[in-house]
Symmetry: C2
Subunit: 105 residues, 2 copies
Amino acid sequence: MAKAKTDEFTADEIWLADVAKSLSHPARIAILKLLTELDNCMVGSIVEQLPLSQSTVSQHLKELKRVGLIDGEIDGPRVCYCVNANVLIRAKKALDKLFSKIGCC
Amino acid sequence: MAKAKTDEFTADEIWLADVAKSLSHPARIAILKLLTELDNCMVGSIVEQLPLSQSTVSQHLKELKRVGLIDGEIDGPRVCYCVNANVLIRAKKALDKLFSKIGCC
DNA sequence: CCGTAATATCGTATATTTACGATATACGAT
DNA sequence: ATCGTATATCGTAAATATACGATATTACGG
């Protein structure tokens, strides 16, 4: 029943799982890709490129922002999002650490 | 209503999101960590270390196996799981590619 | 063959995610 | 002040995820 026993895991484990969760939808992967490629990262541009409604895209952006993978900067009546490299690097390091000593049984 | 519009995204995006999904629970992060640390990777050993029931752990193992992050090898009456480095490397490369050109608006 | 141990699967309850349209908010222009 | 545009939030329905106990399966030892 999805009883949140998260306190039984380490903060690192919970954090990495949370970042992974934010990456666990193709739309959010696509959004991150767009943010690294487009010279224009207004929400409207993103919505145009995705097969999803504006409100749904907004929800996905909120999820990415929640874990800090992107930041939104208000630009007049628009919002400009961009990738937060720091969080990204931290996530990659955590992954590397997790798998630094792969050795099997 | 979670209408699966996944065909609108690229295979790469879907795959990476799927791997991320399999990493999106602290128990599964913990399992992967255990598999890289324990000299004994029987299911029983994993269950012992986690605050979850045997059936729940088995479900998590199934999810990790589904995306190929781990392989299970039958060893008598037990099953020995280990990390699949190939899938892992592929995932890391996909992440690196995704973020190779971080440049903001 | 039978019992025991290890693991997987089933059934099921609850929680969370995903999606959309409708509505609210914020801002710039007129 | 009002209008139009851009974005966020609300309400909600359907899908999926998580958890557990109970049961099935598999393999070995006697």
